[in-house]
């Protein structure tokens, strides 16, 4: 049975009195790129850990194509991949051996292992580093190794937890290209958590905005932004900056010209929406 979509119902995770994920429901369809956007502590990592079997939910059900995840974990785990927040690779062994261990753990046949490893190395463009110790790789290359490892068993659904955190802008763009490539080439469903708004805006077909364990808004980036308008007017007051939102540039200019202070007009961003609905900035 093909597994490529997710349905989450009333999912909750509690740690004593702390509710990390609070009764959330959503669904992801085949080939989607979905981004969970939210500040640190919103519950994004807890959610991804429950979706990959690293944590058990306190309440709620996760279905992968109508398969109840809690009852068929092994079956589902064969077709999902995870790029965790930390580069959890074995630093004292080679890049090739890091992938070989993964191939064995995922039960890839002895004869097919080498081919699968070479394909993963080639996909992540780290063929030249296969004999190097993982510790000798730069931060960006380590991240690519983690992606190669997650892709080795050809998952139908790939989870990426803060995939570009702590990377330089060049490496970040490289990872974005990989994510698009994974999604385009094999129709892999992609599930990303991020606190970088431009990442969600750029990559995702659908965005779920999370705060304090709850989903507070969802939809495509365009749909979410259109709730407020298309343009943002930044009004520079003596001690603060205020924001007004408009559906067209002319309206924004007319409004700005009536003010007795300087202003700037720019395209509306997801961050504007986030600040509007939560009252705080993502850091």
């Amino acid at each position: 049975m093909e597994i490529n979509n997710i349905e989450v119902k009333d999912l909750t995770k509690k740690y004593n009195d702390l509710v990390a994920v609070d009764d959330i429901s959503f669904s992801v369809r085949k080939g989607d790129i979905i981004a969970i956007l939210g500040p640190n502590g919103a519950g994004k990592t807890t959610l991804i850990k429950m979706l990959t079997g690293l944590l058990s939910p306190t309440k709620g059900i996760i279905f992968y194509n109508n398969v109840n995840f809690s009852k068929s974990q092994k079956k589902v785990k064969k077709v999902i991949g995870l790029v965790p927040q930390e580069n959890n690779i074995d630093r004292d062994i080679s890049v090739h051996n890091n992938l070989l261990i993964h191939a064995i753990l995922y039960g890839i046949n002895y004869k097919e292992r080498n081919k699968a490893i070479m394909e993963a190395l080639s996909f992540a463009e780290i063929d030249d580093y296969k004999s190097k110790l993982a510790n000798e790789l730069s931060g960006g290359l380590k991240r690519r190794l983690v992606i190669a490892r997650a892709m080795l068993h050809k998952p139908k659904i790939l989870f990426l937890d803060e995939p570009t955190v702590n990377l330089d802008p060049h490496s970040r763009r490289h990872i974005w290209n990989f994510i698009r490539k994974i999604n385009n080439e094999s129709q892999t469903t992609i599930f990303i958590t991020t606190h970088y708004i431009e990442e969600a805006d750029l990559l995702a077909k659908n965005v779920l905005i999370m705060d304090r364990g709850k989903i507070i808004a969802s939809g495509s980036p365009e749909k979410l932004k259109s709730r407020l308008g298309s343009f943002t007017l930044e009004i520079f007051k003596s001690d603060s900056i205020e924001y007004q939102f408009f559906h067209n540039r002319e309206e924004a200019i007319q409004f700005g010209e009536k003010l007795n202070c300087s202003f700037k007009i720019r395209e509306l961003s997801l961050e504007d929406l986030y600040i509007k609905i939560t009252g705080k900035r993502i850091e």
Binding site: G53, K74, K77, P84
Partner: protein
């Protein structure tokens, strides 16, 4: 079974990358004890009709191999809390019992290597010993017990500090009080009974008798050891299933 092999293979690769450091750790500690206790107390001292060095060597064998087998707990601890490698096992499509067996097999391998070093020492010191089938089976039982104990300890603790506390308050007293360096009969009456809570008390006696005399002196001790292993296996599975 690929889960067991994957985990065992991973541990062997890491072990290989630090082979000489690991080997040296297996050699230094027994040598120190041999000099401090063995030559310090004297070759002429007799215990239970046996020369003290001959009495001490199987004790050192159990202690060193225990340290190596139980030592997987620190390695699991580091891979769990620091490198987060353990998560790779938890998300893999394998039964969690395979994680227990893969890690235990690694503990057994490390233990056998350290035991081999003591056997070489025994040969050099001209101690009469026997490497029989009985000895190998009992050593395997001993190593499985302490690998599984190490595995469960690594999963119960919440941080490195907890791990250190277990080593200080449980493992060290056990190593010194379980008949490793001197017979339990020489201890104060109350201690004689208390030490029977330690699995090492049983395996030390079994290993010493098999190693020096190629005999199984106590069926009860063997059955108790098998019971301990079975309990630790079930406990290990219970712990790894609920780990998050």
């Amino acid at each position: 079974m690929h889960g067991i092999w994957g985990i065992y293979f991973r541990e062997l690769l890491i072990f290989k990358s630090k082979f000489f450091k690991n080997l040296l750790a297996s050699v230094i500690s027994p040598l120190l004890f041999l000099f401090a206790f063995g030559f310090g107390i004297g070759k002429d001292t007799q215990i239970d009709g046996t020369n003290y060095i001959a009495f001490l060597l199987p004790g050192l064998l159990t202690m060193t191999s225990l340290n190596q087998a139980y030592g997987i707990s620190s390695e699991i601890n580091i891979s769990r809390f620091y490198f987060k490698i353990f998560d790779e096992y938890l998300i893999a499509p394998i039964g969690r019992w395979q994680i227990l067996l893969g890690e235990s097999l690694y503990g057994v391998t490390k233990g056998f290597i350290s035991a081999a070093i003591i056997i070489i020492l025994a040969y050099i010191l001209d101690v009469k010993f026997s490497i029989s089938f009985l000895f190998v089976v009992i050593l395997l039982l001993h190593l499985l017990i302490f690998s599984m104990l190490g595995f469960s300890a690594a999963l119960i603790v919440r941080n490195h500090g907890d791990q250190f506390a277990i080593n200080s308050f449980i493992i060290t007293p056990m190593v010194f009080l379980s008949g490793t360096f001197y017979p339990i009969d020489m201890m104060p009456a109350i201690i004689k009974y208390v030490v029977h809570i330690f699995p090492l008390t049983y395996t030390t006696k079994l290993i010493r008798d098999a190693f020096l005399y190629n005999r199984l002196t106590s069926i009860t001790y063997l059955l108790v050891s098998i019971f301990i292993l079975f309990s630790l296996f079930l406990f290990g599975i219970f712990i790894v299933r609920r780990i998050e």
